[in-house]
């Protein structure tokens, strides 16, 4: 199990009912982590619609998790 932090923004924050959570996960990759959290929180967005960042850097979905990672799933953006 890996202890990580997940931050939520926009519709993910609303659907999770929180902006942040600390959790221990057996997920082997960021993709698996999202699948796990999607099931738990009922996220409507598919991972194909998201990007993912770890410790404030965009990352690939296949990347494994490391102890203490801060993970952010990034819904479609709309700045400007």
């Amino acid at each position: 199990m890996t202890a990580i932090t997940v931050e939520y923004y926009a519709q993910l924050r609303e659907q999770a009912g929180r902006g942040r959570e600390n959790l221990s996960t057996a997920a082997a990759s960021l993709a698996e982590l999202y699948a796990e959290l999607r099931q738990r929180h009922g996220f409507t967005l598919d991972s194909a619609q998201l990007r993912v960042a770890v410790n404030a850097q965009f990352r690939e979905w296949a990347q494994p998790l490391a102890e203490g990672d801060v993970v952010v799933f990034i819904p479609p953006v709309a700045g400007g």
Partner: protein
């Protein structure tokens, strides 16, 4: 790491503009995005912007570095608002200085286009009918064929 800011209150854009002034630069191009009263036919009463600030700042700095490298402009600044905005409020301000005007225009256009595609900032629109919804304008490389507006 201070050319980009994410601001909860209106920015002093005149101070930003002055900070860009330098004797060798003859061209200054600015762009502002204002909250419109309608989006896709629905009357908007206001909106909320939410940012993943740490990544937005880092990505914004990267975009400005890219604009300087591509167009040879001297410098640029960008401010994006977060929180509640009303119709007419300035959501984003970008300023670019350059010795010549052609590069200033191109770099300013590049920065706003990239900001809209890449900065982790989200917009929830509130409609006069009472609903609200998260608006997706763009999403990075996988969705690059969006209509620029």
């Amino acid at each position: 790491m201070s050319r980009v800011s994410i601001a909860a209150a209106p920015a002093d854009t005149d101070a930003l503009r002055r900070a860009l002034q330098r004797p060798g630069c003859g061209g200054f191009c600015a762009f502002e995005g204002w909250v419109r009263e309608t989006n896709e036919g629905r009357a908007v009463s206001g909106l909320d912007y939410e940012a993943y600030t740490e990544l937005a700042l880092a990505e914004g700095e990267r975009i400005i570095d890219e604009a300087i490298a591509r167009y040879g402009v001297a410098d640029a600044r960008c401010v994006h608002r977060v929180g509640h905005l009303a119709v007419g409020d300035t959501a984003v301000w970008i300023g670019v200085v350059s010795p010549h005007r052609d590069e200033a225009f191109r770099a300013c256009r590049y920065i706003i286009d990239q900001i809209k595609q890449r900065l982790p900032i989200w917009k929830k629109e509130h409609y006069l009918e009472g609903e609200s919804s998260w608006v997706a304008c763009a999403h990075g490389p996988a969705h690059e064929h969006h209509h620029p507006d």
